[in-house]
Symmetry: C2
Subunit: 134 residues, 2 copies
DNA sequence: TAATACCTTAGTGAATTACTATGTTCACTT
DNA sequence: AAGTGAACATAGTAATTCACTAAGGTATTA
């Protein structure tokens, strides 16, 4: 189907929730799950992956939770999605040893990854732009 | 993995082969398969899909084969890939009823599809550019 | 009518997706 | 010191997709 899967979409939604947390306050999985409607157990795994990629920081125990590992200006949607789904748009293998097509697909990948290189802090801005155009 | 699958890559390779056929001469499946290293049976299915999407024309019987249904200038890589893999980059469902993220993903889809809106006849040109830059 | 090409459908093993289930570890509170 | 509640870790599972193969059907030409 060639699409970002729910895992990536959930990941961006969770990161966006953390970004929107007032005063960068810790958020617990159950809070994020309630906000985003993501299943608690699945969200646990997703946040675990995001932690492994150093995108979030966690604190354990009672009153624990998650927060962004760094400023939202330093986090790209591409980082989030690739942390969860691997590098984007890598053509499986090269076909027929065609140099033309090989470099074509490499170029497509580069351009497509550029599209997703939008900062986490600019997500709302993107929406505003969209909104004002109506 | 979020990538064009081999089906789409094979489809583009096959279409490129048809585009490169001298004088737009009919090409048989076995010729294309030999050129591209795609399995004969699988390529049959792929060309069948491309025909259903009116991207190629076929002639049956002895000396039959395939050719492009229209000028390569009127065929986008996006057309080929979407004929084989469905519409690109549709986020499965909207998550958490977030209007911000919904319109963000819609915008991502639009931009990503634009990246693949390159004409079949410009595939080689893309490579030339890449080549000259070295 | 035989040969040869396209056309169609069914099946299959491997991998991926989107979870659920179960338990462990850690830290704070009482 | 014990209990509670949070993150952490691993295993399992049903459904779907992927990348084909197999087997035959149908149209056209020699």
């Amino acid at each position: 189907m060639v699409s970002i899967s729910t895992k990536g979409i959930y990941g961006v939604a969770a990161m966006h929730a953390l970004y929107k947390s007032p005063n960068a306050k810790l958020m617990q999985i159950k809070e994020i799950a309630a906000m985003t409607q993501i299943s608690h157990g699945y969200l646990e795994q997703i946040l675990s992956s995001l932690k492994k990629s150093s995108l979030v920081i966690s604190i354990r125990g009672v009153n624990g939770g998650y927060k962004l590992a760094r400023d939202a200006q330093e986090i790209l949607v591409l980082d989030i999605v690739e942390a969860l789904e691997g590098k984007l748009f890598v053509p499986s293998e090269n076909v027929g040893a065609s140099v033309v097509l090989d470099s074509f697909w490499a170029d497509m990948q580069e351009q497509a990854r550029k599209v997703f290189s939008i900062k986490l802090c600019d997500l709302d801005k993107a929406y505003q732009t969209f909104f004002y155009e109506i």
